[in-house]
């Protein structure tokens, strides 16, 4: 049967009619092949305008309509809904933009009218071969996976769980808590980090909807939004947490001592250990890398002393398979280490510390029980130099970006130092002070005014040890004077890097990373918590350096985004996706290479489109040498006819 197309041109008051002779257009189009009905109307988008369209569709049994009006971004949905009301598929309604792309940009009425005709004809040619499509529906597994158990992951997990959805929280270390649990106090309120963090950790461990998998890593992931299948490797801790009574006998007999990660090497721990007293899950872990050996058992002392027989040397790694509908990635950050940053004597001089080490020094539960003492001689440092932007904002040698939180935590460190060592002097070398945030600027001012912290604008050129002092050479660029400080301790505000291993995970998840290795958001402004992969969201410092409130806010945001998916029984996806003609496809795989969404794969030598993942960009279509791929309703056939119509016009 011939197509029965209706054509409507909107005057848009004088917006269109002022430059385009709409009567002439409508008359001209009336004789165009397939046009059964052609009319002009003053405001097509108005209720009477839409009614006219609906009436015409019903009366003249139209199966397609083209409305020449404003940009489709404005009223495409309006008219498509109206078309559906009239009983035709919404994809049988197309918009010809004769306002923004014609009447508003031209003056010559004759030429603008001709152009409006060409635009209309070309859109009619598109409509002529439009398929009727229904949104693609996808069932949803109504559970979520959160990767990373720092504050962001915890927040996301709790928000999701409290919304009623099951959450699998995967943490690679033996305890959740991340970096926040290492901190002493938090800016700008100086409340105790552990005090506000532990209740959340406990809540996670007690929450009936949260399945906590610590000492575990995501190994493999397949599927797509709403239907991910995740393989998780659960590494053996060799300790049964249910039996363990936390008596700590095992650590006393363990012959091995290694640097304690939690205290960043400021203390040592045993091969069997609990990372920190408040660890969740509250249990011990046998660190296989440092244990003298299990196969064959080389030592066995810990098991010997364990009364409840909680230690099981035969524990094996487990692979767990979980099905989830949505994933939040909150893999956090690491600080620049000594491998990356050797300039300032970090790793060489004992009394040159990084920010996290200083946090541990300040912490009441830290290695010095809250006293600030030099690691080298356990004396109280009287002059401490804090250096900001170590590795940050240095495009030539290090990271080009600003690590964002250093200004604030350095101010906090200086302040905390003064609170501990009243007669001490804190110096801060800075490039700029970035203290945007609620109460932040006031906080920095307090450090300067109340705690007498000396801020020096400039870079440190050299640090070296001499006579038990660390000599810091620098320049105060404000006064232009060379500065030399004989410090007792130096604290470096190291650049923030994506957590180690985040890149591998990103590859498994097929989430893009930016050039610095942080995970890429789908849109820098409008989709800051979504990854480019549908159904996966980002939280916390994995996406970019951020402070706790920001991380928590993003985590909650990500949780809501995940709920957007999980709260639905089915997801709907635009059906204008690619399709492959398998007769023509030779399976060369070029479309697989170019697809930005990993939506195309090869099966039995033919390309296959996962319609759920496909966004319909059509790059496969232009890449395919055999014209086997095409995007529904923007097929090469349609574009070919549009080209002809726009040139014949």
């Amino acid at each position: 049967m011939k197509k029965r197309i209706g054509y409507f041109i909107c005057h848009c008051g004088i917006n269109i009619a002022g430059t385009v002779d709409v009567k002439r257009v409508s008359e001209d189009l009336a004789s165009y092949p397939g046009i059964i009905h052609s009319e002009d109307y003053v405001y097509m988008c108005s209720d009477p305008g839409q009614s006219r369209m609906i009436e015409a569709i019903k009366e003249k049994k139209l199966d397609k309509v083209v409305i020449a009006c404003c940009s489709p971004t404005l009223h495409e949905t309006t008219f498509r809904n109206a078309a559906r009301t009239a009983g035709i598929n919404s994809f049988q309604c197309e918009i010809a933009n004769v306002r923004e792309q014609c009447s508003w940009v031209h003056k010559d009425k004759v030429k603008a009218t001709e152009k409006a005709i060409k635009i209309s004809k070309s859109v009619i040619e598109r409509a002529r071969f439009n398929e009727s499509l229904e949104p693609i529906s996808i069932p949803v597994t109504r559970r979520a996976l959160v990767i990373g158990g720092g504050i962001s992951g915890i927040q996301s997990a709790l928000d999701l769980a409290n919304s009623g959805y099951e959450v699998v929280l995967v943490e690679r270390s033996p305890s959740i808590g991340g970096h926040m649990i290492q901190l002493s106090e938090t800016f700008p309120t100086l409340d105790c980090s552990q005090c506000i963090m532990t209740p959340k950790m406990v809540e996670v461990s007690k929450h009936p909807k949260i399945k906590l998998l610590t000492y575990s890593e995501v190994q493999d992931i397949s599927g797509y939004v709403g239907n991910f299948k995740v393989k998780i490797l659960k590494k053996p801790t060799f300790v049964d947490p249910d039996k363990c009574t936390l008596c700590d006998e095992c650590t006393t007999v363990c012959p091995v001592a290694v640097p304690n990660e939690f205290d960043l090497g400021l203390t040592r721990r045993r091969a069997i250990y609990i990372p920190f007293p408040q660890a969740i899950p509250a249990t011990y872990t046998l660190d296989i890398n440092h244990c003298p050996g299990l196969v064959p058992i080389a030592c066995g002392k810990c098991a010997d002393v364990c009364e409840p027989k909680a230690i099981d040397y035969d524990m094996k790694p487990e692979i767990l398979e979980e099905e989830v509908g949505s994933i939040i990635v909150s893999t956090g950050f690491d600080l620049y280490g000594k491998d990356e940053m050797a300039e300032y004597g970090y790793g060489t001089y004992e009394d040159v510390l990084d920010g996290l080490q200083f946090e541990r020094l300040c912490s009441a539960s830290g290695p010095t029980m809250g006293k600030i003492l030099r690691p080298s001689d356990h004396k109280e440092p009287k002059e401490v130099v804090f250096i900001q932007c170590v590795g940050s904002r240095d495009p030539e040698q290090h990271c080009a970006y600003c690590s964002k939180i250093c200004c604030m935590y350095t101010a906090k460190h200086a302040m905390l130092y003064k609170h501990h060592v009243h007669d001490g002097q804190a110096y801060v070398f800075y490039i700029d002070i970035r203290s945007g945030g609620k109460g932040y600027e006031e906080f920095v001012q307090r450090a300067v005014e109340e705690d007498g912290v000396v801020y020096l604008r400039g870079k440190v050129s050299k640090i070296f040890e001499e006579n038990g002092k660390i000599r810091v050479w620098g320049v105060d660029t404000l006064s232009g004077k060379d500065i030399e400080i004989k410090a007792d301790m130096v604290v470096l505000a190291m650049a923030i890097r994506p957590s180690k291993g985040a890149d591998e995970l990103a590859k498994k998840l097929k989430i893009a990373m930016d050039k610095d290795g942080f995970l890429s958001e789908a849109h820098p402004k409008l989709r800051p918590v979504e990854s480019v992969t549908s159904g996966m969201f980002l939280a916390g410092a994995a996406q970019a350096p951020k402070d706790i409130p920001e991380a928590v806010a993003q985590a909650s945001g990500a949780a809501v985004k995940a709920v957007n998916i999980l709260s639905q029984e089915k997801l709907y996806h635009a059906p204008t996706v690619a399709a492959v003609n398998s007769t023509l496809c030779t399976g060369c795989g070029m479309c697989v290479d170019v697809c930005p969404y990993e939506a195309v794969s090869l099966a039995e030598g033919k390309a296959n489109v996962n319609e759920v993942l496909c966004e319909g960009c059509g790059t496969c279509m232009a890449t395919c040498l055999r014209a086997a791929a095409s995007v529904k309703n923007v097929t090469p056939q349609q574009v070919h006819n549009m080209i002809i119509a726009s040139l014949e016009g």
Partner: protein, 343 residues
């Protein structure tokens, strides 16, 4: 240098062992010095095998026939097919592998090195030895070719009679092979894109006059795409002929195939056909030059593909058929790909 006897022995051996289904090689054309493709499935046929500077065919093209044959058979013999390849031909095999058209196991690649010379252009040869009774061509080493006329041998610098493509060839040794005969060498070419640069230096009008005259000659016999190992599509996009039709192909699908190019051999259609082909060969053409050779009206088709080859290299550092495990030229990008021309 390639020893023909060794090559033959290897072929006999793999046939004897049943390692290959058959071998695609070269044999003499009916008592003449030029060769034709040979399909050897019996050991005794290997006696006729030839390798000399007349072996111009890119035999990789026949892997397509083999694949089609296999697809038709109910219980196909899945042993590999032996194929004799030169440097350029081997890159064509690589592309077929890169594009999943064949697997590495489908072929037993018998590489032969062109070393410092290459394959002779029959037209140049007959011009140079006009009126002489050419009997035989041989590689004479050191970039020379021995031409036997009657009973007289003359050794000439290869460049004088080489096919154009061979003159500009920098990869005379197979990139991929199961067994290689002859020496692995490169070929120093002062400017492999000299001809293209010359054409580029023409002004717009002169370029157009040049190509218009060439395209006007095209009779659309499609020998160019028929001989091309890369043109393995069942149905060419340029003139969809509904050849790729299955019982479930709908009438609409057949009816609405786009005719980018009409059958009429007029300039606009000829241009469209050859432009589409050039685009489709960008990053895939290995400059085996076969399209150029087979053209019955002597359109220098190679130039179009060679131009694309040049741009692929200049802009994107890409050479076709070198790394089959990597994406193709147009299915990858670098963020810093040049874009001076973009407004």
């Amino acid at each position: 240098m390639v020893t023909l006897e060794e090559l033959k022995d290897n072929c006999r051996q793999i046939l004897k062992e049943g390692k290959v289904k058959y071998i695609i090689g070269y044999k003499r054309k009916n008592g003449q010095y030029m060769t034709v493709p040979a399909f050897l499935d019996r050991i005794e046929e290997v006696d006729h095998l030839v390798w000399d500077p007349s072996c111009i065919y890119n035999l990789v093209r026949y892997l397509r026939d083999e694949k089609m044959r296999k697809e038709k058979e109910k219980e196909p013999d899945t042993r590999p097919v032996g194929v004799i390849v030169k440097g350029c031909d081997s890159r064509a095999v690589n592309i077929l592998i890169q594009e999943n058209y064949i697997t590495r196991d489908d072929v037993y690649i018998i590489g032969v090195s062109c070393e410092k010379s290459g394959i002779v252009d029959e037209k140049k040869l007959t011009k140079k030895f006009a009126g002489k009774d050419i009997r035989k061509l041989d590689f004479a080493g050191n970039g020379k070719i021995q031409v036997t006329c009657g009973t007289k041998n003359s050794v000439v610098p290869a460049e004088e009679i080489l096919a154009d493509r061979c003159i500009e060839c920098t990869i005379p040794t197979p990139i991929v092979f199961d067994v290689l005969f002859g020496e692995k060498t490169d070929r120093e070419v002062p400017d492999p894109f000299k001809t293209i640069k010359e054409l580029e230096s023409f002004d717009t009008t002169r370029k157009w006059e040049f190509w218009k005259e060439e395209m006007d000659k095209c009779i659309r016999c499609y020998a160019c795409r028929s001989v091309c190992p890369m043109c393995y599509c069942d149905e060419c996009v340029a003139d969809s002929i509904s050849l790729a039709v299955k019982p479930d192909t709908t009438a609409e699908e057949k009816a609405h195939k786009i005719r980018w190019v009409e059958k009429s051999p007029v300039i606009s259609e000829n241009f469209n056909y050859h432009l589409i082909r050039a685009m489709h060969l960008a990053g895939r053409c290995v400059d085996c030059g076969e399209c150029d050779r087979v053209c019955p009206v002597d359109i220098p088709l190679r130039y179009l593909n060679r131009k694309m080859e040049k741009e692929s290299l200049d802009h994107f550092g890409y050479t076709a058929g070198m790394e089959p495990e990597k994406p193709t030229l147009v299915s990858c990008f670098r963020e810093d790909d040049p874009e001076e021309f973009i407004l």
